[in-house]
């Protein structure tokens, strides 16, 4: 007998020779095997003012250290800076499943005295990823399309105010049609439980009032098990998540926990009673697929149809085929002023980066740097680029 390759999981089906059994029930396993081989890609953007704990939270979420050589600029330097886009990519592997996670950080957001224009850079970045994907998708060689579109944006809200600030409202409204927005209350250990609940309610009211469209978790299907349904209910009821991040281990009550040590006690990051960190992580992981789907089916398709409407037209010969998008883009690209391909590739295309240790040269204004570095083998592989727009 042909040795059956191990893509048929043993024990999952009764004796295959039961009469009437065809065998295509194995199809989901075949699809699944291919995805495991290929791995997954996910891009997460984090936006929020400096000092809200974004970096710490991201490190806590994925148990990595994305920013090993971080230097926090002083106030004088911050005055000069405009919003930058920093994309870091990490490959995480767990139980054979590979995830290539790209975190897009936006330092400088909200830092300037006048923050009037701080989100145009971010919006351009999101649009550029769509543009790039559209370009690749319409091209001739589609074998290795890299998906760098932003699948999810965590927007950090300061716990110190009484709700959303005008900047928060403006920003979310500017991007809610382009990316899935997940509002997060940062540094939630400054709030008591009651304050936290009040703030959440306030934020939700303001979101409604201003017509901001945040990402909605899909309801659990009727055929899911009760635990999953309950989990979904709890998650939905906790939005926006009030989180605390930490990568330090503290000994509390005889066991080691990740947390923050205060004279009055220890805030445990992974304790559901202390904050919503675990909920945020569970939400992100269990809905990663859905976030990608909504990005593809809604945000990207909207972008694409707008783009093509602006550029597409029937040829003068009246062919039945509309102008191929490839052709449309060629016309458009020559008139748009996009950054030259080399720079974007260095930033985002991991395939092209070679494992070289180049010396980092830092300019005075922090721009025009490109360097790569590798951490020691026992940590997840880390590749990192800086690009300023």
């Amino acid at each position: 007998m042909l040795p059956l390759p191990n893509i048929i999981s043993k024990g999952q089906f009764p004796n295959p020779e039961t009469p009437g059994y065809v065998g295509f029930a194995n199809l989901p396993n075949q699809v699944h095997r291919k995805s495991v081989k290929k791995g997954f890609e996910f891009t997460l953007m984090v936006v929020g003012e400096s000092g809200l704990g974004k970096s710490t939270l991201i490190n806590s979420l994925f148990l990595t250290d994305l920013y090993p050589e971080r230097v926090i600029p002083g106030a004088a330097e911050k005055i000069e800076r405009t919003v930058q886009i920093e994309a870091s990519t990490v490959e995480i592997e767990e139980r054979g499943v590979k995830l290539r996670l790209t975190v897009v950080d936006t330092p400088g957001y909200g830092d300037a005295i006048n923050s009037q224009d701080c989100f145009s850079t971010i919006i351009s970045y999101i649009d550029d990823q769509f543009e790039r994907y559209l370009h690749d998708e319409s091209g001739l060689n589609r074998r290795h399309i890299v998906d760098n579109r932003v699948h999810c944006c965590f927007y950090f809200i300061s716990p110190l105010g009484h709700g959303l600030k005008p900047l928060d409202v403006q920003f979310m409204k500017a991007i809610h049609n382009k990316v899935n927005v997940v509002p997060v209350i940062a540094k939630a250990d400054t709030l008591t439980l009651r304050e936290s609940e009040r703030l959440k309610r306030r934020i939700l009211d303001e979101i409604d009032e201003h017509g901001i469209k945040i990402y909605h978790l899909p309801d659990a299907e009727s055929d899911e098990d009760e635990d999953f349904k309950e989990q979904t209910r709890i998650l939905k009821a906790s939005i926006p998540f009030a989180v605390v991040g930490s990568n330090q281990q503290i000994e509390a009550k005889g066991k080691k926990v990740r947390g923050r040590l205060y004279p009055w006690g220890v805030v445990e990051v992974e304790n559901l009673e202390h904050n919503d960190f675990l909920k945020l992580r569970i939400m992100l992981i269990t809905h990663m697929q859905d976030l990608q789907e909504v990005t593809q089916d809604l945000h990207y398709e909207n972008f694409r149809s707008d783009r093509l409407k602006r550029g597409g037209r029937l040829s003068s010969h009246g062919y039945i085929l509309p102008l191929s998008p490839a052709y449309v883009l060629v016309c458009q690209l020559s008139s748009l002023h996009l950054p030259p391909p080399q720079r974007t590739n260095l930033c985002l295309d991991t395939h092209r980066v070679t494992k070289q240790h180049r010396n980092a040269t830092v300019g005075h204004n922090g721009r025009h740097i490109c360097y790569s570095s590798e951490t020691e083998p026992k940590h997840p592989e880390l590749r990192r680029w800086k690009l300023s727009y």
Binding site: M1, P3, L4, P5, F13, E17, G20, Y21, V22, G23, F24, A25, N26, L27, P28, Q30, V31, H32, S35, V36, K37, F40, L61, L63, D65, E94, V97, L99, G139, R143, E221, N247, Q248, Q249, I250, E251, A252, G254, K255, K256, V257, R258, L261, R281, I282, I285, T286, Q289, D297, R304, K309, S315, H317, Y319, L321, P322, S324, A326, Y327, V330
Partner: protein, 331 residues
């Protein structure tokens, strides 16, 4: 007193918290859930002269009456004057996995006196499906899931002459292997003894090689060493010598699909008797997804590239844009 450890510290001593586990393998579960919900589509074409058991084989593969004949009202089988392309779709379900199976039959193929160009309507049908998909794909407002009517697999029935391929077989497979996955089978293999069968298969493989015909699984599309190992074993066995049947008989206390003759009962699913089980495993249990992937990422892409280039060239000339601009952007 509290002690603070490094960022990646050791695992917690007690049971419970695993510091190093994020949980991303849950993604697989989501994928499977989504795949199950969406269901699958499979489009199989059967090509061969009349009387080679195509319809019966389809029924045997899917253990249900999926073939054209089972659905058709007329009892008699008349050879049509020209080749017809007949598509029948069925929604079938097994263990919660739903599939829309479309069987595309091609009555009239190879049955005429003059069979020249009899592959043309079939080529046209296959290309028409690619065209339909492409049209949907380049639409400005596209559907969330583009319906997939592309032919994933074409089973070609070789009559069991025992000698070698006929010119018609070679011509057809040579042309069509360039646009679709071809799985050749030796039909009605119960007329061949085991030695005759082996000889015939070897001859066929030689002729396929000599004519540069790449049947599924194509060597050049093996993704990695693991795939290559599995596929080499398959390549050494094709074409599968099959016998089909939708009749059940009692053999040694079990009910089996077979053909009962005076000299014995041929058990269809017994690999000592014929290679139907291998064909079934290949097509359905192990390589179904791969067959679909090769159709969409290779055959369809080739069609698309051809189409886009045709379009660009014509329109470019019409609009006075130099061709090298277009070529430089693609790839």
């Amino acid at each position: 007193t509290a002690t603070v450890g490094g960022p990646y510290g050791e695992k917690a001593s007690g049971p419970g918290v695993d510091f190093s586990y994020v949980g991303i393998d849950a993604i697989l579960e989501q994928m499977r859930r989504k795949a199950m919900k969406q269901g699958f589509e499979l489009n199989i074409m059967v090509v061969g002269q009349s009387g080679l058991g195509k319809s019966t084989l389809m029924n045997t593969l899917f253990k249900s009456k999926v073939s054209r004949k089972s659905v058709q009202a007329t009892a008699q089988e008349k050879i049509p004057k020209t080749i017809e392309i007949k598509s029948i779709s069925h929604d079938i379900e097994e263990k919660g996995v739903r599939m829309k199976l479309t069987v595309i039959d091609t009555p009239g193929f190879g049955d005429q006196i003059n069979n020249e160009n009899c592959w043309r309507p079939i080529m046209k049908f296959i290309n028409d499906q690619y065209e339909a998909y492409l049209q949907e794909e380049i639409n400005i407002n596209r559907k969330k899931r583009i319906p997939d009517s592309r032919v994933h697999c074409c089973i070609y029935f070789i009559p069991p002459t025992g000698h070698c391929l006929r010119p018609l077989d070679v011509e057809f497979m040579r042309r069509l292997s360039k646009v679709v996955n071809i799985v050749p089978v030796i039909a009605k293999a119960d007329t061949l003894t085991l030695e005759e069968r082996d000889f015939f298969k070897k001859k066929i493989r030689e002729e396929l090689r000599a004519n540069g015909i790449d049947v599924y699984p194509q060597k050049e599309f093996d993704e990695d060493a693991e795939d290559r190992m599995i596929n080499e074993k398959i390549r050494e066995m094709i074409p599968f010598a099959v016998v089909g049947s939708d009749q059940e008989y009692q053999v040694n206390g079990r009910r089996l699909l077979g053909r009962k003759t005076k000299w014995g009962t041929i058990e269809v699913e017994n690999i000592a008797h014929c290679e139907f089980a291998y064909l079934r495993d290949l097509l359905i249990r192990t390589h179904m997804q791969n067959i679909k992937d090769i159709t969409s990422s290779i055959h369809y892409e080739m069609y698309r590239v051809r189409r886009l280039n045709e379009n660009n060239t014509v329109v470019a000339h019409a609009n006075g844009m130099p061709e090298h601009h277009l070529a430089a952007h693609e790839m």
